[in-house]
């Protein structure tokens, strides 16, 4: 059988009588075609909407139940601390993109044993809200979270500045407040309403090169021996000099009308007018804690061992970490007698006149923990632990917190709640772009594969 034979065979094949067209085939053709067009358009529109929703969902689902505007807690509502502080995630959104509202903690988080993994985070006071503080994404300190948790004051650790930056956690906006004398600026304390900043300013001229070379907090270190205490009204920009030189720590009284200040190895009470009121005669070798030393009742001060280092003009003052690290208390009325003892590595603030909040390594869980530490010397009660999984340095290391700053005014009545799904806000812009690019590439790949499969199937059908 060859071409001619098969052609002849088919041509000679008797024809079957053709049946009539089914009724309505032609008449119904155009309406059916119109319906088909409409159905396809509707399907395409539906697919587009679903794709958009999926795309938007992929970007926004990590935001959890994020609101566009942070919810304002009811007045007087106590802040809460999750029993587990969420682990490191590069997908955590920024303060400026999604303001978290009032915050309880400000801390650096990461690890740098082999690869630098770091982010500056704030933890919300009323929910498990985490945001990256994009105003200082790559470094710790000098920073200060206001007692009401609504603002953060930022400076630079290694160079002179002419202003401090104030981040509003309810709007996500950052504003600059000029300081009258440029220099190395170290924020020391904020008044309970967050409006008055006590800071140390130091002329870095003689040590500018050394400061630039130093990898640590050179300004903060140098200012303990040379900085002058200033009071700055963050609303008006009006500054008040105090003449207190040097200054290494400060804390506002609960009523915000005066401060306790550490100058060299002596402790002073200072008024808002910048005048020294009197010296607080704490036991020799002790000085107030770097932050939040004044108890909420106004009756007690937290003190820790202090020491000096260097000679003559190079002398600086610091917390004496070599001495056994118990935090002690003294009363304002009778400051020469040490009273309570709280055994913690780092003092963060006062929970009450009988308990402080401390940060220490929890050796049982092998992770950092925030604990309520009684001042009668009894064992601490763990309130919250940091995530202990290996998330830093591409899963090779645990992440550890650095330089925790707490909203001291929210600690009274602080509750602990069961940690819920972390609200990390929208992905950072870089990840959003990467996600969109990935979705686009995947869509293109799917389209190419489908086209290839169709062609292959068509080829298989022929062959």
């Amino acid at each position: 059988m060859n071409d001619q034979q098969i052609a002849a065979l088919l041509a000679a094949a008797p024809q079957e009588p053709e049946p009539p067209l089914p009724p309505g085939l032609l008449e119904g053709l155009v309406p059916a075609a119109r319906r088909d067009v409409r159905r396809r358009r509707a399907t395409a529109a539906l697919c587009a909407v679903v794709a958009l929703l999926l795309g938007a969902g992929a970007l926004l689902i990590p935001a959890g139940n994020r609101d566009a505007v942070p919810a304002r807690p009811s007045p007087g509502k106590a802040a809460g601390l999750p029993d587990l502080i969420a682990g490191y995630s590069p997908l955590t959104g920024s303060v400026s993109a999604a303001p978290p509202g009032r915050a309880l903690l400000l801390y650096g988080y990461g690890n740098s044993e082999m690869l630098r993994t770091y982010q500056t985070l704030v933890l919300g006071a009323d929910a498990d809200v985490y945001r990256q503080l994009d105003a200082v994404p790559e470094r710790t300190k000098p920073w200060l979270l206001s007692p009401d948790g609504r603002t953060i004051v930022l400076s630079e650790p290694d160079r002179e500045v002419a202003e401090v930056r104030v981040v509003d956690l309810e709007t996500g906006q950052t504003r600059q407040v000029p300081v009258p004398r440029p220099g190395g600026v170290v924020p020391l304390a904020l008044s309970p309403d967050g409006n008055i900043l006590a800071y140390s300013v130091v002329d870095l001229g003689p040590v500018a090169e050394e400061a630039a070379r130093d990898a640590g907090d050179y300004v903060e270190w140098y200012a303990t021996g040379h900085g002058e205490l200033m009071l700055l009204d963050l609303r008006t920009g009006q500054a008040t000099g105090t003449g207190v030189v040097p200054v290494s720590a400060a804390a506002f009284a609960p009523d915000g009308q005066r401060l306790v200040v550490q100058s060299e190895l002596r402790t002073w009470l200072i008024g808002l007018d910048g005048q020294r009121q009197r010296e607080v005669m704490v036991p020799q070798g002790y000085g107030i804690t770097v932050h939040n030393a004044w108890s909420p009742s106004g009756l007690l001060l937290a003190v820790v061992p202090w020491r000096s280092e260097g000679i003559d003009s190079g002398r600086v003052y610091m917390f004496d970490s070599g001495t056994s690290g118990a935090v002690r208390t003294v009363s304002i009325a009778e400051p020469s007698a040490l009273r309570g003892t709280a055994d913690t590595e780092t003092f963060l603030g006062w929970l009450s006149d009988t308990e402080v909040l401390g940060h220490a390594w929890d050796y049982g869980s092998d992770t950092g923990a925030l604990s309520a530490v009684p001042l009668d010397g009894s064992p601490a009660r763990v309130l919250s632990r940091f995530d202990d999984s290996y998330r830093c340095e591409f899963g090779m290391q645990r992440c550890v917190p650095y330089e925790i700053s707490v909203a001291a005014g929210l600690l009274a009545g602080l509750g602990t709640r069961t940690a819920e799904s972390a609200d990390r806000g929208p992905w950072p812009v870089g990840f959003q772009i990467a996600a969109l690019a990935t979705v686009a590439v995947l869509a293109a790949v799917v389209w190419l594969v489908r086209r290839r499969v169709r062609r292959r199937r068509a080829g298989e059908a022929i062959s």
Partner: protein, 166 residues
């Protein structure tokens, strides 16, 4: 679609529907399925009519649509498992005219869909290799090879026709 385009489409469909249905029948061997194939091809043509109407040969487009729909349907799970007609015997017995037609259709039904399409287009629709290749969306070489395979299969399925009636 504009009214004048729709009018042109309707005229085209009315003029070609029988011819298309005949081609569809030759492809599938079943009048009911041929009606469905024809309607599907014309509906698909309606979607693209504005562009197709400007082409030199709308017939080639609609025929290609028809063949593609036929091949697509043969690829579906349903079409692979459900046959609208009984399996033909391996060796059809020679008989009268009606039996001859049934034998021929049964033999065509035994071919793979692509081979059947090649045979129908080339020897029943009178297309040359290039036209068949364009209609099927494959290369002329593929058309030639598939034609060869199809003829070999028909020779096996219709042994009594060899050198006899053909």
């Amino acid at each position: 679609m504009r009214a004048d385009d729709e009018h042109a489409f309707t005229e085209f469909a009315q003029a070609r529907v029988l011819e298309l249905r005949r081609t569809a029948y030759r492809l599938c061997g079943n009048w009911d399925e041929a009606h469905d194939l024809t309607q599907s091809a014309l509906i698909r043509l309606y979607r693209h009519w504005t562009r197709v109407a400007q082409a030199d040969s709308p017939d080639a487009y609609v025929r290609r649509m028809l063949v593609n729909i036929f091949l697509d349907q043969r690829q579906t799970w349903w079409a692979r498992r459900v046959r609208p007609f009984p399996q033909p015997p391996d060796v059809p017995a020679p008989a009268a005219d009606v039996a001859d037609r049934l034998d021929l259709m049964a033999a065509l039904a035994r071919l793979a869909p692509g081979q059947r399409a090649v045979i129908v287009l080339r020897y029943w629709e009178g297309m040359d290799v290039a036209e068949t290749a364009r209609t099927l969306g494959c290369s002329p070489g593929t058309v030639k090879s598939q034609t060869s395979y199809a003829i070999t299969a028909l020779r096996r399925l219709l042994p009594n026709y060899v050198g006899d009636r053909a």
